[in-house]
Symmetry: C2
Subunit: 240 residues, 2 copies
DNA sequence: AGATATTTGTTCGTATGTATT
DNA sequence: TAATACATACGAACAAATATC
């Protein structure tokens, strides 16, 4: 891979680590990079574009503008990672094998570390999806709102790794084609058990009963997986 | 974000999903893309460069060349994701909170699904790091070889998600700055317990004793975490 | 508020490198 | 070996965005 622009991109990237550049630092301007690498404008621009596509830098026009080192937004990282799994053909079983392990740990580790405001966020996340359903479109929205509770839990967790992986699993449930189809069908069973567990989890979090939180989330995940697997089976048999 | 090249990149990306293009499909040639988007050469090239940086396409020169849809290599996905955590300041605790949950599940789910060849791979992974240590440099190599066993386990696992996350945790242990430092110091305790657990795990996998596998890996992770946390503490106090 | 200067973004034409036939 | 088809690199002119006065 002797491509010049790629070489420039990786050299600039190694600047960032070697000089310990932090978000906000600005890289040399285009014209200086052109001179430094003695390359053409387009070539340098392609190099910057690579870094931009990976989320490492952002650019601004105008005086004082240029390319700035940036902290990759979570959304960007989620979308970059989902590309990797696009051709991997994930199943409900695959996703829940991780959720079963991680969601209980995440909820438990949060126990006792939530202030009143955090608990309030969780409460509103639950109420969002308690409202009655009118149209078919709202049906699907309810399925998504069901996940909001878990998204809030992930947001509140101080472990960036755990938080990210859980959010990624949630994004798969939201965006994966077959999950999309599963969620589009009415699913009162999933709705009822989901709501029950979320309310019970909220109470246990208020009580700071860590073991109960963990245990409830384990049961919640097992129940959700069971229902989702059934829907997945139905979906597959309908296709044949 | 009204940038033309980004808009072109995301339109091409949506072609890939809408037309269900699979790895190997080739996109229109540069000149056709230029015509289709009625944009300049450099602009279209920057768009392709974005997709390339994200691993979605690769390009080839020469007749029959062009941009081809590709399956993102695992290495590429690992490196893209590690960018996200570069500024996140992860700790041993963060990493092991996930390893504690996932490694036992991974090993257990493998139990009974390994053929003779797979077991052979595991065995050689263990023996790699049993050889005696001569130089200081080999000391560090030994620390890395210790992880090879877990990498093989991840490779063998049929769940792409579980496999990827475990590999990512391993790549953090290898590449993160402070882990690097921890691993550079002699650590006979980590070495001995590691080797003990890996051999015990191998035996349990041969015996297809799933509960024992899970239990051993849980203890292995707890032991490793304990030692790593101590080293991390030492390192931090040395810096002050 | 408006003009200006600065910096990235886009255009276009040309030349070079590389793999296929 | 030569011809062809394609990406890659070059460079100068122009457009758009934005901070400053």
């Amino acid at each position: 891979m002797g491509k010049r622009s790629d070489a420039i991109a990786s050299e600039i990237k190694s600047w960032i680590v070697e000089q310990n550049l932090t978000p906000g630092h600005h890289l040399p301007q285009e014209k200086d990079l052109i001179e430094y690498f003695s390359s053409a404008k387009s070539t340098v621009r392609e190099a910057i574009k690579v870094l931009q596509a990976q989320g490492l830098v952002t650019t601004r026009t105008g005086p004082g503008g240029g390319a700035f080192v940036t902290e990759i937004p979570q959304e960007k990282a989620l979308s970059l990672l989902s590309n990797y799994f696009y051709f991997k053909d994930l199943s409900i079983k695959d996703i829940y094998q991780l959720r079963r392990q991680l969601e209980p740990e995440m909820a438990a580790s949060l126990c006792g570390n939530l202030d009143a405001h955090d608990l309030e966020r969780l409460k509103t996340a639950i109420t969002i999806y308690s409202s009655p359903i009118a149209t078919q479109e709202e049906e699907y929205q309810q399925r998504l709102n069901e996940l909001v509770f878990h998204e809030v839990l992930a947001d509140l967790n101080p472990n960036p790794l755990l938080s990210f992986v859980c959010r990624f699993l949630l994004s798969l449930l939201k965006n994966l084609d077959f999950c999309h189809k599963i969620y589009q069908k009415p699913n009162p069973e999933l709705f009822d058990t989901g709501r029950y567990y979320q309310m019970a989890l909220y109470d246990a979090l208020v009580m700071k009963d860590r073991d109960k939180v963990r245990h409830l989330m384990q049961k919640h995940m097992l129940a959700a997986e069971k229902i989702m697997l059934e829907r997945e089976r139905e979906l597959k048999s309908n296709l044949q």
